[in-house]
Amino acid sequence: MKKLCLGIESTAHTFGVGILDFEGNIYSLKNDVFVPDKGGLHPVLVKEQHLNNFMHIIQMALSEASITIHDLDLIAFSQSPGLGPVLKIGALVARMLSQLLKIPIVGVNHCIAHIEIGRLMCKLEDPLTLYVSGGNTIISAFESEKYQIFGETLDLAIGNMIDMFGRDAGLIHPGGPKIEKLAQESRNYIPLPYVVKGMDLSFSGLYTAAKYLLQSNGYGKKYNLNDIAYSLQETAFSMLTEVTERALAHTEKKEVLLTGGVAANKRLQSMIENISQEHSAKFEVVPLKFAGDNGIMIGWAGILRYQAEGGHTISETIIKPKERMDQITIPWRF
């Protein structure tokens, strides 16, 4: 029997459980996603939902994989970064399982897990990664033993920015997919702030300007919600694509990986694909199921770390809500 790992994702809205073996074969993937009635993600409400549902999700994952909990050989969990109260639930469940079953436990950085599952799924060696989601906007590549951050947002994450605008426009969370649909209906561009500093980005001015457009006199007359959605997307994605291209020219990598929840956006995909072709780099989007938060990616990154360095002690499994991924060495890459 192959060795099995159970990965637990619990950094934000998703409580995800994935079961896979040490060779990367996947047996099951189950998610429970918090959807707010109004507003954004309140950490305490998210925590409560995860706390109520974790047993159920784990049981569903086990039965889908047709195994019992005693067949597991390793527990991996998301240790950083994320919402503190939510991270605690994943860590709590992982410690409990590890001690009950007497199997090793390993903590994983969520951002690194996104890159590693992308490398596995898309069969890439050494990609430049654009990781775009509700919580992160990072352009990263492996250099000097670490996943270095070449560019990142200086304020809002791209997904967060789009969702916030969506809420202002009266759309139900998450706004991203709805904004994408609306944007397809317009070709009327309204100039919005475009802020790029080196390879870093800033979205807060863009958000404010788009929000003011909703409140201004011209709204509903000179332009409608479709036009703002279109302008917002075009501006933000052009910024992302520009810095990705700059990082690609700087690092001279031959592969580009697009991951995170916002990777589902077709317009962004086509823009990043375009620059990849320009620089003769191979372009891959992580399959949607694995691009958003999930337990499989945590499991896979956990397996890699466990095989390189062994498991963590319980005192090492303390959560690190603010850990940056460029502070962590990646022993399996050198």
């Binding site: 000097s144 270095q148 070449f150 561009y189 500093k197 080196g198 075009e234 694509t241 823009m271 990043i272």
Partner: protein, 224 residues
């Protein structure tokens, strides 16, 4: 003197622009052509290409007067977003850095620090200082290029961001050399900036930490 304008060959496909080597009335030149980008819509593309071309050309002309080594501008064609500038022979610092001995590293980074200090003292920020944007000539002169993101600013914050971006590039691309090089850079920066008789440079350098602490995922007790 030849009266021809010849674009001989492409020498670099950058992120933003293509560089062509050629001749301009007998002079060896680079044609820096900001290419239309298919990924972005016409309205955004046109605006970015025109404003950055004009911005870069103006900046190059201006900062050359302060005695910083930058390519001389011969012609500006804003309609085709092209700048014709002097050809600088040499290597990108990025490609030769790991092969340099400590003496040379110190010398070059001192010199870069000095050049950036002169920019900052005169109210300019480069906003894209990377080791790819610094050329070392065979006569060991240091040239700054690529002023497309240049801004006019006297704010301490903007100058600190400039240094912070450079620090980040050193860490991410030259991890092993970062400390030595950045210290040599700051030494050159301090010496030159200090000549003006104020202690503004201290504020600028200290502010780098404040900017870092504002980054994502910084522990709250490390925040200033």
């Amino acid at each position: 003197m030849s009266s021809e304008i010849i674009q001989e060959r492409i020498i670099r496909k950058g992120a933003e622009a293509n560089l062509y080597y050629g001749y301009w009335f007998g002079k060896e030149v680079i044609f820096k052509y900001r290419i239309p980008k298919k990924y972005r819509i016409e309205e955004i593309d046109k605006n970015i290409r025109t404003t950055r071309t004009l911005n870069e050309a103006r900046a190059l002309i201006k900062v050359k007067n302060y005695g910083i080594n930058v390519p001389q501008v011969f012609e500006i064609d804003s309609k085709n977003s092209t700048i014709v500038m002097k050809y600088i022979q040499g290597y990108k610092l990025r490609n030769i850095l790991s092969n340099l001995d400590e003496f040379k590293k110190k010398k070059y980074f001192n010199e870069i620090g000095r050049a950036i200090a002169i920019l900052h003292k005169n109210g300019h920020t480069h906003n894209d200082i990377t080791t790819s944007n610094i050329i070392i000539t065979p006569t060991e002169q240091v040239f700054l290029i690529d002023f497309g993101l240049h801004e006019y600013s006297d704010k301490i914050e903007d100058k600190s961001v400039d240094l912070h971006l450079f620090k980040r590039v050193l860490i991410s691309s030259h991890g092993d050399d970062y400390k030595f090089c950045f210290n040599a850079f700051l030494e050159g920066y301090r010496t030159e900036y200090g000549k003006q008789g104020t202690e503004e440079y201290k504020e600028i350098i200290n502010n780098i930490n404040a900017i870092e602490s504002r980054g994502r995922y910084i522990k709250s007790k490390e925040r200033l």
